[in-house]
């Protein structure tokens, strides 16, 4: 049987959802027989080929995120999203409670991450927009919530897809934290 082609990307996110996928550990070896990872943050390939399953984590927080989401949607048959940011916009969406200026000022001038209190700006940096869950931007077929989603929930969803079903995470393994 031909391997199922998968492409993935993270949007406005911490990357923890993909880490949780890697936490499948030795199960990944079995999955590698059934799944081919194409453009993903793990393989570090950016251009999406035509794939069966597209996976996104993170919320949509700027124009770039929106473009990536639309590109992947156009290149996949089924779009699955991982994590609370992708499903529910938050935790990233917490910044919607403040203005963009407040958020940037807090991040670049009051925290230890800032060097000299300069807020970086460049034409190449897409401006921050209101944070949205992915399904407000493109059609999403299935959702795996969690912060991050447990490897168990991710595996459940992948196995369902491999079996030809659209997964809905069962109550027993669904978590929002």
């Amino acid at each position: 049987m031909a391997k199922v082609k998968v492409a993935s990307a993270w949007l406005d996110a911490c990357g923890g959802c993909h880490m949780s996928f890697l936490d499948l550990d030795e199960i990944l070896i079995d999955l590698a027989d059934k799944i081919e990872l194409t453009a993903t943050p793990i393989t570090d390939i950016k251009e999406f080929p035509q794939v069966d399953v597209g996976i996104l984590d993170g919320a949509v927080g700027n124009k770039h995120d929106e473009e990536v989401a639309k590109k992947l949607r156009a290149n996949c048959k089924i779009l699955m999203v991982w994590g609370d940011c992708a499903c529910f916009a938050s935790p990233v969406g917490m910044r919607n409670l403040f203005s963009t200026e407040e958020v940037l000022k807090r991040y670049y001038t009051t925290e230890s991450t800032s060097k000299d209190g300069i807020i970086p700006s460049s034409e190449e940096l897409p401006p921050l927009t209101k944070v949205k869950p992915i399904h407000e931007v493109v059609k999403v077929d299935c959702y795996v919530p969690g912060c991050p989603p447990s490897p168990k929930a991710i595996l459940y969803a992948l196995n369902e897809l491999l079996a030809g079903r659209i997964p809905v995470v069962p109550s027993e393994i669904m978590r929002y934290d």
Binding site: D84, C87, F88, A89, S90, P91, G93, M94, N96, L97, P133, H135, E136, V140, C142, Y143, V144, P145, C147, V168, V169, P170, S171, M174, R175, Y176, D177
Partner: protein, 659 residues
């Protein structure tokens, strides 16, 4: 109540007339999701999760507010109802800012649980992201409007359980919020920190600070025990994780008169404490403490006690269970050879005891157990609160007083000489007699009651009757500064609005006059305010086993001439009231859980378990026998007090066998 028959989901089920559809469902094992319902609170039908279809109703109705009736035909889980429930949940999630990953309630949140149950993996409605307040101004608990679903359980807990009416809904519609008084911060509000709202909140909108991030409820062990903090001795459920205190809750709101708990029982028991006394310490010649073994401390002590035992006294905290009190008494009697022994609040017990004895001598009644249970407050139609500040000393009693006034329009007379207002919003009549004239007022009241409605000799002895002759109204008016009209009002409220209860506390006992207690008992006796062998009188006692210590005769009082004191302080923290009495006691032995100014004064300091590390029996102020269970394993192999007594006894050549 008569039985009724209903059809639920095609099945015939039985229910009680007068219950709600939700109650019938629950009694028959038919699950309905709920959010705004909580056992023990009134139902309001706010959240719409428990909606059901009833054949004669056009629309789905909330089961929690719909009266169950004979022959109702009900469906609980149709596709339409499940669709609506899911919609309600999604709207709740979008309306506020619910972020589970860093919410203290995650794992025990009722909204989250329903989200899982309905497999909500995304929300079809746009998020609102409202900018909302977090009020962390208060010492004990936080109100985070971001996580609020407006179910109103906190408001009902505040109104119905603590009966303090601090929380209410503020504004309307989309702008509706939980309001603290009239938009004050919790710290500056009328909140008395019972914490019933904390226990009632289904989400993370209200949470207590001391238990924050110490452990999730479902990871905790739960032990039922009692609170040692005051004479009411409330049943509490203690949550622990890894042998640490996490949280304290009431066992439930329903049918629990002590459900409110209070700041002492719910929060202070878990609050950060001073450093523990871990090792025995002996004060050297230079005045510095030296840590030592129990053996060494016992040796020093034995030597000193052998020299001084005639003039050695013992004092003990009535926060301790009866077994420990008994052991302490035997240790003092048999080993130290002293019967000069008292509890920290012994003076009050002696006064009450003397007051009861005098009453019994003249009326021929028997037994110490003469006061009514605090539940009777909820059946009273009039209450006299005299020389008592229950909000401060026994808050559960004041919650019951407020509930009684709220629910029964009970008339409350407050007789108070403090500057502070006691229960001002609930008071029908406030009397502020001149300080020290409470006795004249009470005796005057007794005389007025007898004069108005003559009673037989069985109820009032000639001796007492004669003692009242001097309390003519003009004289009472002059002595107390209370006008005649007010005096007559109290007489009529208490004498005519039955049943009536008199509650008194420390303020009255400070007058040091047992006659006042006798008069109070007579007030109840004259007016027939009694149930079987109990008089409707309540004395507020300061510690969970104050009554137990009194019954065990530990409150005899100590000999002024003693030149040494063995103080079993345990986990008492109130050193301010004790310190002045300890000056000039001579040799001082302090057995305590925590370092304090009192242990600083001591010559020998011995360790003692704190409340959660003990077990044993207690007698509450209203005579309930209660079992306290051990909640924590004593830290670092800490000895129980009994083992310390035995060890010292051996050094002194005694074989004290304690069970």
């Amino acid at each position: 109540m008569s039985k009724i028959t209903l059809t639920i989901n095609g099945k015939q089920v039985e229910g009680q007339d007068g219950s709600t559809v939700l109650e019938v469902c629950q009694a028959n094992g038919i699950y309905l999701p709920t959010l705004c319902h909580l056992d023990g609170l009134s139902d309001v039908g706010a959240c719409r999760m428990c909606i059901v279809e009833i054949e004669r109703e056009r629309r789905p109705v909330p089961a929690c507010t719909y009266p169950a009736q004979n022959r109702l035909v009900i469906r609980t889980h149709t596709e339409r109802l499940e669709k609506y429930r899911r919609q309600v949940l999604e709207i709740l999630f979008t309306e506020r800012n619910h972020y589970c990953p860093f919410c203290e309630a995650s794992g025990q949140c009722e909204l989250q649980k329903l989200g899982y149950q309905y497999q909500i993996d995304h929300i079809r409605y746009p998020y609102i992201f409202p900018s909302l307040q977090v009020d962390a101004s208060n010492k004990y608990w936080v109100l985070d409007q971001n996580r609020c679903i407006l179910c109103g359980r906190c408001i009902r807990a505040c109104n119905e359980i603590a009966a303090n009416h601090t929380l209410e809904f503020g504004r309307r519609g989309f702008k509706e919020r939980i309001a603290v008084d009239i938009n004050q911060t919790i710290a500056e509000s009328s909140c008395l920190n019972y914490g019933a709202c904390v226990q009632a909140c289904p989400t993370g909108a209200i949470f207590d600070k001391f238990s924050l991030y110490k452990g999730k409820e479902d990871e905790c062990q739960k032990v039922d025990t009692i609170c040692p903090s005051c004479g009411v001795a409330c049943e509490i459920k203690v949550l622990t994780k890894d042998n640490n205190l996490v949280k304290i809750k009431a066992p439930g709101f329903k049918d629990n008169p002590r459900a409110s708990l209070c700041r002492m029982g719910r929060f202070e028991l878990v609050a950060p404490k001073p450093p523990r006394v871990i090792s025995p310490m002996v004060k050297g010649k230079s005045g510095e403490f030296e840590e030592c073994s129990l053996d060494r401390a016992a040796e020093v002590l034995a030597k000193r006690l052998a020299k001084n035992n005639n003039g050695f006294s013992g004092m003990v905290s009535a926060r301790l269970p009866s077994q420990t009190l008994k052991a302490f008494k035997r240790f003092m009697n048999e080993v130290i050879g002293s019967d000069s022994i008292d509890t920290i609040d012994g003076a009050s017990s002696r006064l009450i005891s003397e007051g009861i004895n005098r009453f019994q001598k003249t009326t021929g009644r028997r037994g110490l157990d003469i006061e009514c249970p605090i539940e009777d407050i909820m059946e009273a139609n009039s209450i006299i609160l005299v020389g008592a500040d229950p909000d401060l000393t026994n808050p559960v009693v004041s919650a019951l007083v407020r509930r009684s006034v709220d629910l029964r329009k009970t008339k409350l007379v407050v007789i108070n000489t403090l500057d502070k207002d006691i229960l001002p919003l609930w008071t029908t009549l406030l009397l502020k007699p001149k300080p020290g004239s409470e006795g004249t007022l009470l005796n005057g009241l007794a005389k007025m009651l007898i004069d108005q409605n003559p009673v037989s000799g069985e109820r009032v002895s000639a001796e007492f009757r004669n003692s009242l002759v001097q309390y003519e109204i003009p004289k009472v008016v002059k002595a107390t500064g209370i006008d005649k009209k007010s005096l007559e009002s109290v007489r009529d409220i208490y004498g005519l609005t039955k049943p009536g209860i008199v509650i008194y506390g420390e303020g009255l006992l400070q007058q040091n006059d047992a006659g006042l207690i006798t008069t109070i008992l007579y007030l109840a006796n004259i007016t027939g305010n009694q149930t079987q062998d109990k008089l409707r009188v309540i004395s507020l006692k300061p510690r969970a086993n104050s009554r137990g210590a009194w019954e065990l005769m530990l409150t005899k009082g100590i000999n002024d001439k003693s030149n040494g004191l063995y103080l079993l302080l345990a986990d008492e923290l109130d050193s301010e009231t004790l310190l002045p009495h300890l000056k000039g006691t001579g040799f001082l032995v302090v057995q305590a859980s925590y370092h304090s100014p009192i242990t600083e004064m001591a010559d020998v300091v011995l360790p003692s378990p704190m409340w959660a590390e003990r077990e044993g029996e207690y007698v509450s102020q209203d005579g309930r026998f209660l079992q306290a269970n051990r909640v924590l394993e004593p830290s670092d192999g800490l000895l129980q007090d009994e083992a310390v007594f035995t060890s010292i006894s051996q050094k002194m050549g005694h074989n004290l066998v304690l069970n």
